[in-house]
Amino acid sequence: MNSFLLIFSLAWRNLWRNKRRTLVILLAIVLGVWAMIVTAAFMRGMIFQMLEDTVDNLAGHVQIHHSQYLDDPVINNSFDPDSHTISRITHDPRVLMWSDRIRLPAVVLSERETTGITMLGVNPARESKISFIGKSVVEGRFLNSSSDTGIVIGQALADKLETRLGKRIVLMSQDINNEIADRGFRIVGIYDAPLDPTEKAFVFVGKETAAKMVGLKGAISEIVLRLHDTDMVTPLVTEMDQLDHTIDVMSWLEVEPYLELMIQMMDTSMFIWYLIVFLAMAFGIINTLLMAVFERTREFGLFQALGQKPRFILFQVWLEAILMIIVGLLAGNFLSWISVMATGDGIDVSVFARGMEMINMSNIIPFVITFNDLMIANITVAVLGMLTGLYPAWRASRLVPADAITRI
């Protein structure tokens, strides 16, 4: 124990014999760790934001469709929301809330323009809780009830159709007999979504009104669920998908496979980024320690001549590397914590708004530090740093005392 304390204080003091050199390499470690953590937090925040947007953007955590609906989203692929299976799913204790929808491809016409959209016939009370629409209506109002005869459209769609609040537009779709079903709707509300494509793609009408228009009697196209916890998604989906083969129960990961792919890709690229940063750091550490060992060649020779065992020398030099890494890690984590705190809600990237919208991202990216990312960054630096510290330490312990003492 005593010898450990001795070695520890020797290592610590040796570390500060050349203050400037140690500080420079320390700075390299701190910046490296900081870059790792902050980049991870930024990437994580991007994913987090995309996930939130997707779940918010009508996808929910779990979706229920007719088994053919995703292949062919037509009116005939609808299901009965009052069946035993469905009520069992919606009454599951893991389900926080749910919303049922008639979701059909449709065409919207104004006096001057025609464009394809997706018509969502919703129950306004349930829908406004589960998706973004509840807090996104910026002009007018959201629908009052399922049998509301108004329509709520996005700002971008209103601009495209050259129409506005209070005017009438016409929706056309197919009814249950494959005939054209059409109806005029008065615009009662305009919503503003984070992304233009959303605004151009979805219009909201009352569920009963939509059902009457296309001749659906009680059947619906889609139910979305939001659960208490995202970890419950996979077990719930696996369990409920067995119940009825005419019904598809899917998690948002299956509905948006692109997102899952993106998350996996980010995890991998993050690790590669860690390795690159670390590699730069490692050369610094090795170089500094080798220099320190070289400077103290005579000293180590003398120690050995006085009877210190080589493994003590190895341990002392290695401890110098470890101390340096520990101090660097602590400072690096602290610095990252400060910079994340300082940015508050996230970074405003609205300067690049158009580009961000192209990849379906919104303008503010929050920093999200997860325990996992923090651990991976710290462990990578600690473990690999200790390994690199071994080489100069080993060099120091292999010195032959007679040679070392005589070397100037």
Binding site: V107, L109, T114, T149, Q174, G184
Partner: protein, 250 residues
């Protein structure tokens, strides 16, 4: 397309229009006019001139109609469009392109696109049939026109009607000739107007033989219809209004 085609070919027969001029009867008049037309067959030859600032194109066509629900239009010139055609049965519209030898059902997503490149949209042509039920018709005023009574009727679509216009104003003579049909947006701004420039009496019926559709904001862009031959109450073979006839002109 049938009803609008009838209108384009000036067969807007307003029976009984002359015997009543009460405002609340405007709807009744239109209903009688359309009822009166049921079951009548027609054959016509016409040219459609599409005019643009840089170019002009003339398409010649033949058309057969039976009652209100069936019509067939076949292009006869220019050569590159020869034999292409459109068939309308009830609310469904198909178009045939000989170059690809395909019959295409016009989906609702294409309803806003122009019909054969003209200023008429597919919607204009195919879906004018709900004129009775979807509008509130009001007789605005009665004028004189070349010795005929001219009724000006304003048609405002119902709240849930599948009509994008704010209002439509029709000018119809007591001999059933449609002189003008104007489409206004919901701010009351004129969008496009169909006007009649030539009226003739053919086979004992007075009809408009030249009509022009003009977009209000583009003075140099219009489409003009000119009917050269029109025959009524002819015998049309049973297989005329079929997809196979659309594909294989006989």
């Amino acid at each position: 397309m049938s009803h609008r085609l009838l209108q384009i070919f000036s067969l807007w027969l307003f029976a009984g229009l002359s015997c009543s001029s009460q405002a609340d009867n405007a709807q009744q008049l239109i209903r009688q006019a359309i009822d009166n037309y049921r079951g009548i067959t027609s054959y016509s030859e016409a040219t459609m001139t599409i005019h643009r600032p840089d170019w002009q194109r003339v398409i010649a066509m033949k058309a057969w109609t039976e009652g209100l629900d069936k019509s067939l239009v076949r292009i006869t010139a220019p050569k590159k469009d020869k034999d292409s055609g459109s068939l309308l049965l009830d609310d469904n519209m198909w178009s045939y392109a000989p170059k690809i030898n395909r019959v295409i059902k016009i989906p609702s997503s294409m309803s806003g696109q122009s019909w054969m490149g003209s200023d008429f949209s597919n919607n204009d042509i195919a879906r004018a049939d709900d004129i009775i039920d979807n509008y509130t018709h009001t007789l605005l005023e009665t004028k004189n026109h070349n010795g005929h009574k001219l009724f000006i009727i304003q048609s405002v679509p119902h709240e849930d009607a599948p009509v994008v216009w704010g209002k439509e104003v029709l000018q119809i003579r007591d001999d059933h000739v449609l002189l003008e049909h104007a489409f206004y947006d919901q701010d009351g701004i004129l969008i496009k107007k169909l006007t009649t420039s030539e009226i003739k009496t053919i086979s004992g019926k007075t009809i408009a033989t030249t009509q022009r559709m003009q977009k209000a904001d583009k003075e140099n862009e219009w489409t003009e219809f000119h009917s050269s031959v029109i025959k009524f109450n002819i015998i049309i073979p049973k297989n005329t209004f079929t997809l196979s006839n659309l594909r294989n002109p006989r």
